[in-house]
């Protein structure tokens, strides 16, 4: 539940959801159905007004802000629809950022960031700033950044929303293959049918309510 001006929005309502390790979960639904709010709750960026979020069987409502931040830093990677790269940093520095926050020493930090950028196919773009990259390349940098601290979970909010169909397809494949390779759990909020099809478990949301899509 959150406030938008004078009105109170119930963005997520009576949602009970369990996400198993290493699965690729998609949450489909129209705009305003509560997908982003759900991801923010799972990603510990927000507190539920009622109900609880458990992360690795731990009740996150009992955690301090500092502990929640530590979980976000070391266990969760975020991929945003609008990439959310820091515009003043290069691609390499953007990927190094979570490693630096996790206090990884500079040398291994740089090696890891280069390795991740190579894995997403951006070997020649290390020193480019976001405005010098295409949208597809920016999303690749964002995926590399999300994987930097070997997270347990990746939350991707409309990762193909800003991309053309072909690039969106490439990014979906890349996300899938990297997460399989790193054995990472992925939760994707998406409008994109192809992303939903590629997932192990599909959910759909409407008016804040969630239901599993069994493909009937």
């Amino acid at each position: 539940m959150y406030r938008l001006g004078a009105s109170v929005i119930v963005a997520v309502n009576k949602v009970s959801l369990e996400i198993k390790e290493t699965t690729f979960v998609s949450i489909a639904g129209p705009s305003g159905s509560g997908k982003t709010t759900l991801l923010n709750l799972i990603g510990l960026n927000d507190h539920p007004t009622s109900g609880k979020v458990f992360f690795k069987n731990e009740d996150t409502s009992l955690l301090s802000d500092r502990e929640r931040r530590e979980i976000r830093l070391r266990n969760i990677g975020f991929v945003f629809q609008t990439f959310n790269l820091l515009p003043t940093l290069t691609a390499l520095e953007n990927v190094e950022l979570p490693l630096a926050l996790a206090k990884i020493p500079p040398k291994p930090q740089r090696e890891k960031a280069i390795q991740l950028l190579e894995a997403v196919g951006l070997t020649g773009r290390l020193q480019h700033r976001p405005k010098e990259l295409s949208t597809g390349e920016m999303q690749r940098v964002a995926i590399a950044r999300a994987l930097a601290n070997n997270p347990f979970l990746i939350l991707a909010d409309e990762p193909t929303g800003e991309l053309d169909s072909e690039t969106g397809c490439e990014i979906t494949k890349l996300l899938l293959s990297l997460c399989k390779k790193h054995k990472t759990t992925v939760v994707v909020a998406t409008h994109d049918e192809r992303v939903a099809k590629a997932s192990d478990v599909k959910y759909s949301m409407r008016d804040g309510m969630i239901m599993q899509d069994v493909g009937l």
């Binding site: 959150y2 982003t36 709010t37 923010n40 990603g43 960026n45 927000d46 802000d65 500092r66 931040r69 530590e70 976000r72 830093l73 070391r74 990677g77 975020f78 945003f80 629809q81 609008t82 959310n84 820091l86 515009p87 950022l97 979570p98 926050l101 996790a102 950044r145």
Partner: protein, 345 residues
Amino acid sequence: MNIFFSGDVVVVAEGTIVIQAFPVMGGNLPVSAIEKVQQVNGVRTAVPMLVRFSYQVEDVIQLVPTNVSIGIPPGNWSVLVGHTLLKPGGNWPSGNPGKEEVVVGPSLAVQYDLAVSSKVKVENANLTVVGILDTRSALLSRSIILPLELAQRLYYGHTMWINMIVAGPEEEGIQEQVANRIEEEIEGLEALTTHERHEIIEPLLHDVETWTLGLSSVLYLLSMILVTTVAMMNVSERRRDFATLAAIGAPKSAIFRMIITEATLIGLLGGLAGILLGSIAAILIASFYTNIPLSMFFFDLFNIVSPLFMIKILASTVAVSCVAGVIPAIAASRMNISEVLRSEY
């Protein structure tokens, strides 16, 4: 600040008594006063002086004096210049009649290209430069020091007038008593002790300092508001960046430090620019009011605006900016991540 009565350095030493101390006002004393002062009980020496400020250079009247001519009996130079020496190769004027010799300050020497043996024209007389003072004192730098008789002849055409007597007491601690005796025994003379001289100057300095403090307080307040506004706008434009940083695990303290550092950098750059522009303005104003060429002030910048003053200004600007960054830093570090990420799409 007190260049005229600054103890050891210029014109009058601490502990001496000054009689008719305002040549700047155009006052005069008859030379007969010297003997009267000398005869007062407790007076060891009485050195007459003729001090004349020049407010005009090449028909241009200035608000502040550019040069000062100081006549003093030969052999009494230390009463005037303290421990200040002459540059190598120079001598003090001999005082021999017929030898019209002067010592000039280094700033005048540079401006008019004067060296030992150069001729300098004062009141239509061609005088010979026999020495150049080795000093950084603003007053002495612009001084022409010459034997008293020569100064009297040049400026009055006769030797009847002086405008200052510096009386030295026979021993320390009796300055006040001796000054009182001079005033009691010689009608119409005002004898100023060190304390009284400071009392004359200090209210002026106090007024200047009060105005400066008031003005700088207002400017610092405005700077603080400006830096806060700039930093707030900066935070507002980069809300999504800060929310992203927080989402990927940046601690609030790191975001707080980032904003404070940025505000401090704004202050540092602004302070440096302010010092540069302020120095240029000080030089331009000084040159405008004195008609002394700009180039001379450029070489003498650190005498006009002292390095310590520059450091103080820079430090205070940085401190003010740092404080001004606190509110935007708190705003950035406490923003609601999900709310910002939701609203920024």
